[in-house]
């Protein structure tokens, strides 16, 4: 599905963010990318859809080497990669529906986009997705009237509107409170599994990564230093990734998380209201 080989990124100021990283994702799984700030997590994810231009290396998605594409071909390739951002990056002054439908901009013509005249199929799947992410009925609300958690749900719906082969998720919960963070992370994982879409998720919260991801990779100063199952994250491994620290309180034991999930699903509407107040 996705094969990254010897990816190097050197910024114009000489800073080397990635020193030859190789990662292969060959099954639909949620891969959490962890590491300190500046370890190259964001650079890695942004190199895949070339929001950041890789210096050398290969990124092969479904048989296409993305690093070799020209601008027009890159736009074609980007249509197959959905991206979710830390700051949601919605068009604040447009409605929820316009934001979700913007995921189809790679497919509709300029004048259709201008008149907001999207194909009926797209509108239908937008309504379905909005309901799935817990925003049913909010399609005409302006994005700037939503809370952080609700905005991220719109961001998720926009990315999934692309029917992507790969989800790139950059710190989806870093601007959210702990409870909303967990709801959002679970939603992303659930949707990735439902649709069989692999996802690369940058995340700072080790405990949350452990409890939700299928696989964890660790970056340290631009090098891949860990690639394994969430349960393999021992204090020694975390020290290797982040440096010396007391990790005993961070590493999760299997707790009663499943119950909480069920409650969260049942109380979805209620939780959203609470989010709106928390604003």
């Amino acid at each position: 599905m996705l094969q990254i080989t010897d990816l190097v990124k050197q910024y114009p100021n000489g800073f080397r963010a990635l020193h030859g990283v190789s990662v292969t994702v060959d099954e639909p799984q949620v891969v959490a990318v962890i590491g300190s700030s500046g370890a190259g997590k964001s650079t890695l994810i942004r190199c895949i859809n070339r929001l950041v231009e890789p210096t050398t290396g290969a990124i092969v998605l479904e048989g296409t080497d993305i690093t070799k594409l020209n601008r027009a071909q890159l736009r074609q390739a980007r249509r197959r990669m959905g991206m979710i951002f830390q700051e949601y990056n919605l068009v604040e002054r447009l409605t929820v529906m316009e934001n979700v439908l913007s995921g189809r901009l790679g497919y509709v013509g300029f004048w259709r986009a201008f008149r907001r005249n999207y194909p009926a199929d797209d509108v239908a799947s937008a309504f379905e997705l909005l309901e799935r992410v817990g925003l049913g009925g909010r399609h005409d609300t302006r994005a700037d009237a939503l809370s952080g958690g609700q905005r991220q749900r719109v961001g998720i719906a926009r990315a999934l509107m692309q029917k992507p082969d790969l989800l790139l998720v950059d710190e989806p919960t870093a601007s959210l409170d702990p409870k909303t963070s967990r709801q959002i992370m679970r939603l992303i994982c659930a949707l990735a599994h439902e649709r069989g879409t692999p996802a690369l998720v940058n995340i700072h919260d080790v405990a949350l990564a452990q409890s939700t991801a299928d696989r964890v990779i660790g970056l340290r100063e631009g090098n891949l230093v860990f690639d394994g199952k969430p349960t393999d994250l021992t204090p020694a491994v975390l020290t290797d990734i982040y440096g010396e620290e007391d990790w005993s309180a961070t590493i999760r034991k299997d707790d009663d998380d499943e119950d909480e999930e069920a409650v969260a699903a049942r109380d979805n509407g209620h939780a959203l209201d609470a989010e709106a107040y928390a604003g």
């Binding site: 929001l51 990056n89 002054r93």
Partner: protein, 270 residues
């Protein structure tokens, strides 16, 4: 803490400026006075005219009162023409300034050459006064409203283009990145990612400029570019101050209304 301890620990006096800073501030003051005195000397002002200025001003007011309201029906058409010149001039400006603004903003310009051309248009437009533009367009189109419309547009393009370009440069780049990440073309990124972010500024500056243009278009007639200025100019030349008073009051009324409309529209933009 005893007084002695306090005196030992802290300085006795506190001043905001050091002696050096104080000296520099006085030097600036002296410099400004010097420039003002120099300007007055250079201008060869005839001070005798000042002596009876208050008498002349009083005389002018006496001649203006009462305004010749019978004249009002004669100025209605030129007054409307003035408003039309301002409105059409603003419409032309909108059509030209918008693309120029996108060329002149660093984050949306296609290349450096077009950016330089856009910036040149903005600077050229703003460096020439509306009345001077009117003289140029009267020479091109002949006297009349068409010259006025183009004069208004020529001066306004720089104003609106600059403000809109600055707004484009200050948009949230994350949103643009997100739209780019969907595989949207450059034009669609501008349409969905950039335009909604600057729409309040576009609407606000357009209405604000229309309001300015109504004021500007009242003098276009002085140089033959249409509107109420022609009548105003001839009445002043014929010392018909009671007619001038009517026109000034009428213009004042229109300006107040246009300012009110422009303020109300700008307040509603969210």
């Amino acid at each position: 803490m005893t007084l002695a301890e306090h005196a030992a620990r802290y300085p006795e006096v506190w001043r905001k400026f050091s002696p050096r800073q104080t000296l520099i501030r006085y030097a600036w003051f002296v410099g400004v006075v010097f420039v003002a005195v120099w300007s007055i000397q250079n201008l060869d002002i005839t001070w005798e005219y000042f002596l009876d200025a208050h008498i002349q001003a009083g005389d002018l007011i006496v001649r203006m009162v009462p305004p010749d309201w019978d004249h009002f029906s004669d100025i209605l058409d030129p007054l409307l023409e003035t408003i039309h010149i301002a409105t059409l001039g603003t419409a032309v400006t909108f059509a030209i300034a918008l693309p120029v603004a996108f060329l002149s903003a660093r984050n949306t310009t296609p290349n450096t050459v077009l950016w330089a051309i856009g910036r040149f248009i903005l600077v050229a437009s703003r460096s020439i006064n509306t009345v001077v533009w009117a003289l140029i367009f009267v020479a091109i189109f002949g006297p009349g409203a068409i010259a006025g419309i183009w004069a208004i547009a020529a001066r306004s393009i720089g104003f609106m283009g600059k403000l809109i370009a600055e707004a484009i440069e200050e948009i949230d780049h994350g949103t643009v990145e997100a739209i780019e990440a969907t595989g949207a073309s450059r034009l669609k990124v501008l349409l969905i990612g950039v335009l909604p972010q600057v729409l309040p500024v576009i609407t606000g500056t357009t209405v604000y400029r229309w309001d300015i243009n109504i004021r500007e278009s009242t003098v276009l007639g002085f140089v033959g570019a249409g509107g109420i200025g022609i009548q105003l100019y001839s009445s002043i030349n014929q010392f018909q101050w009671d007619e001038v008073a009517v026109m000034l009051l009428a213009v004042f009324g229109v300006v107040v209304i246009s300012e009110f409309v422009s303020a109300a529209v700008r307040q509603r933009i969210t």
